[in-house]
Amino acid sequence: MLWFLQIALRQLFQPGKRFPAFAIVSILGVALGVAALLVVQTVMNGFGEEHRLRIRESFGDCVVLTRTTITNPAELVKKLRKDDEVLNAAAFTEGPALSRHGQFSGVAFVRGIDLTVKEQPARPYIAAGSFDDLDDGRVILGYGLAKTLRVNIGDKIELWSPAMAELAEKGQAPLPAELEVCGIVRTGFTEVDDRAAIIPIRRFRELWAMGSQAHGITLRFKNPNDAPAIAARLNVGSPEMHFVPWQEIKKNFLEAIRFEKTMLFFLMFIITLVASFSIGSTLFSAVIRRTREVGVLVSMGARRWQIVALFGIQGLMIGLLGTLLGFALTGSILAARENILTIINKIFGDGDMVANVYQFSKVPLHYDSSDFIVAAGFTLLVTTLAGLVPAIWAASRKPSEAMRHV
């Protein structure tokens, strides 16, 4: 073993010493900084991923819109389904309507969906009832709208479409559509949950008197992350249509999540920086304490770079072990996150915030290897520099001066 590596390891973990305080406290400091950084990043990634998934599942991977209605949606759906990247395509209709249940009423944003297509937006977020029960006499409501109308599964609501208003203007007396509530969805997006009413597209067309037309087409892709590129490709040659990938549907929201994550990274990185500064100051005092030893090593022929390496390695070792322990700590904290959250909720009496505010059944996680690489890289760099600065100072002293040092 290289002599300076041997001494560096011995100075960190002194033989015969049961509790190498300096090493343990320094390594723990770095580990806590790294863990804080990674726990926040992983949970933020989890929230981001969960939100991205919700956007896709609530709105589709891509939405095809035109300036007016799509006159022959069946042909377009058929054409789009032939594309290699497209898993499924389904026409939809949408429009506002007045909904009523007894004395309670509200504006519903009604969406007509193709019942032959199973993978429909919002389907995974059914909170009560069943998506499969939907037929021409039934409706699925958003959680907020159901609350406004005070309805439960099995209750009946009335729906007035703009087409009915037109008939009324012409002196006719159309009857409202009476629909039984067969499901309630809760996506977590207020704009969907507070207004959504889902009915079969056939029924929608009937109520809106719009023949076989559609307002748009939702697409499912094999690789949803490539949605912008696929959408752009599909859009070529069809300037009258607008292919909106899911990343564009809630662009500001996704940007806000990304920005939040970046800001938190820098805030948490300061913690690691503080830990590294404490290592720097502790190593500095250790180097000063060992100034005479440095002089002796030089008198035995040690080179300056070897003296720098002797103390630099200690900073690197602290960084390396602290980072590894930080990784383990991150895994442990995240594995116990539900218990930790329960304790926090109990202490602050906030109830289940994750479920109430975000509609997530548990704290979401998403491990991103790049976060770990960046955290390890930054930490190793900072801790090594923290060790190198006093090391360079020690190595720059004349051996005779160093040996006079008391």
Partner: protein, 221 residues
């Protein structure tokens, strides 16, 4: 006729102090032959340690030069060969507290890449009477034992000259006597030159030549 091993020519050294420049060494001329032992005495602060550091290449003189015969390759400046050819023994032993006896002695060899470091270290430790203390750390050794380890460490690279800076300064009289016996015995046996800085007239008189450092100049003492 013995070969000249170390030659110091008109060495000068001064230090800046708050009160102005302090001339510690005014004009030092010294020649040490192969296998010769020389003692240097002087009052505290007379510049003995500074002189030893100049001779060993730990400090550069303001004027003059030091030449050391290294491995019979002619006279070479010690600054270019720190550690080679010169073995240091310090008053405070200066052992690495994290290394045991064997490792402390081996360290000097490892730094210079001397082959057979462990074999040489074990032999030297045996020769200084610490064969049973190989795995003991400096904190587990007495002052005399620490100085024995330091002597073994100074000799492991087969130096042609040993510079000992008050090696008995921190030891009681009896232990000091043992250390001087050991040091003089080994250098005589290995035909090494020795420059011994000491306060003790008794120890100084055991070397072949005695010198006195007064007012920055060496004179026979």
């Amino acid at each position: 006729m013995s070969k000249v091993l170390l030659e110091a020519k008109d060495l000068k050294k001064s230090f800046s102090t708050a009160a102005g420049s302090l001339d510690v060494l005014r004009s030092i001329n010294l020649t040490v032959n192969e296998g010769e032992s020389v003692s240097i005495r002087g009052l505290s602060g007379s510049g003995k340690t500074t002189l030893l550091q100049l001779l060993g290449g730990l400090e550069a003189p303001d004027a003059g030069e030091v030449l050391i015969d290294l491995k019979s390759q002619g006279l070479v400046s010690p600054h270019l060969h720190l550690g080679h050819g010169v073995g240091f023994v310090f008053q405070n032993f200066q052992l690495m507290p994290e290394l045991n006896t064997l490792e402390n002695v081996m360290l000097a060899a490892k730094i210079l890449g001397t082959p057979d470091a462990e074999f040489k270290a074990r032999t030297l430790i045996e020769s200084v009477g610490l064969g049973s203390r190989l795995n003991h750390y400096p904190s587990q050794l007495s002052g005399g034992e620490c100085q024995r380890v330091a002597i073994a460490r100074a000799l492991i690279n087969d130096p042609t000259i040993v510079l000992a800076d008050e090696p008995t300064g921190n030891l009681d009289e009896a232990t000091g006597q043992q250390i001087i016996n050991l040091l003089l015995g080994i250098v005589a046996k290995k035909q090494m030159a020795l420059i011994l800085v000491t306060h003790s007239r008794e120890f100084a008189e055991r070397t072949q030549r005695q010198l006195l450092l007064t007012k920055g100049v060496l004179s026979p003492g």
